[in-house]
Amino acid sequence: MTMTQRPLRILLIDANAVRAAILEEGLREAGTEQGGDYGDLAVHHIRDDAKLLPRIAEIDPDVILIDLENPSRDTLEQMFQVSRLARRPIAMFVDKSDSATVQAAIDAGVSAYIVDGLRKERVKSILDVTISRFHAFDRLQTELSQAKFALEERKVVDQAKAILMKQRNLSEEDAYVLLRRTAMNQNRKIADLARSLVAAAALLEPGSRDG
């Protein structure tokens, strides 16, 4: 099989299974949508644990994608340096011919190793997909953590309301109104005020004192 006929092999090294799945899907979509040159992509995914080099030699990738801040990159680069693999991949950064893509890749936290001789436009299309999928993963994570944060805030406001209802003998609605008014007067967020209230109540509760 000659190099031009075999599918372009992309190896993704990522311990994060969710991000790997998102990227893999993106690369496959790009492969089938664009047809022609890009219609023939083979995407492999491995976690960055032991036995990296034998796996890489076995897959013989044209492009390796890995998180820019993955500490395994030093191990990877040393393996490439000492290995007698005929096709030795090299980190693609600082290719001045396309600094915009490289800049975008660094911003997204993507690093790529490319074997010599691969055409620039192929690399660019793969990188573009990778960058957008890394961003998509980041957004997903942000949304998840925001959702988690919102849930935590609601819980603490509920706790604060319960404390007020019990101690000041208020209805749930009145407890909330009191919380909101106090927060506004003190120029604080309701959740922050609720947190202080819950913490103070815990301190004053009988049995919580030391000694």
Binding site: E69, N70, D74, R84, R88, I90, V94
Partner: protein, 386 residues
Amino acid sequence: MVERVSAAFVPLVDCAVLVAARELGFAKAEGIELELVKEPSWASLRDHLNLGYVDCAHALGPLPIASTLGVGQVHAEQIVPFVLSRGGTAITVSTRLADEMRAAVPGRALDTPAEAGGALAAALRARSAPATLGMVFPFSSHNFDLRYWLASCGVHPDRDVRLVAIPPPLMVESLRAGHVDGFCVGEPWNSVAAAAGLGEIVATKSQLFPHSVEKVLSVRAPLEGRLDQLGPLLRALAAAAEWCDEPVNRPELAARLSRTEYLGTPAEIVEAALGGLLLGVARSRAGADFLRFHGGAANVPQPEDALWIYAQMVRWGQLARSAAARATVLRVFRSDLLERCVGSSAAQPARPLVAFDGIAFDGRDVDGYLARFDIQTRFVAPGSDA
């Protein structure tokens, strides 16, 4: 006006000069707001430096040379105007391997690199499978020091052992997990391994190659138009380096370095490392010169420093020897800039570089120097069959 300068670093005791420059006002005194960016790996540090995400970096001496030559990475020209440290690294073996070494040469004190190396060679011969040793990057003095020591004791680093690169902060964990049987790394990571009872320190860089270059300040080339910015930075670093070298300042320096944003290791370990007091290593062995930041014109990047790195790259097959490569290497290490910017101190002749086995390095005759070694690895151009 305050100039903002950002510097990337990897958590190691030898980033002390940058930390002191920021924390103790040496940068501010030169009108610089010095921002330090912690990196998880040398590859990441290099990429951030090459692409201008940071203005300069705490770099392994051979890294800007390999980068400028385009060996093992994309060609990106760098300049080294300042040496941040000399010495400061060591070789540690697992307690198991240390026991094997003692068993291999009963009754011998393993208190010199030659004795320890001989014991290691004997212990490795007695093993059924090759040992795995960690170092930090293919283009590092750690890789070259470890290889030199092994080869000098009859162990071929590319045939008799397996070398792997591991970022410094992960080294101790790799030893604990049994991924490596030993390593060459900068402090405090040898001391951390020794303090945890996981390994024994068997040799230091200050023994293997006294006062040899370790970390350098690397900046992107060309410098034209940026000398105005570089001058104040070099003055700040020279003042910080002088302060770091003073034994009386070690407790304060250790306290700053041990903070989580820098090393995140106990201050007493950092302070001991600064003073060359390594656990299990007699003071006479590590020597008072374990780690040097300033004295003896330590900050001047000498042509001999660069040529030594060139010679090691050739010896271990990373590079084909050529007059062009030699000339390039000499362009990276600039011995003139510090004198130009700081004025004084610089013009001192370099001390001869003599290894622990008595072999002196002579930059004028690299070929003659390399001809002395039986153990070498032939250069193979990438992509060629061999």
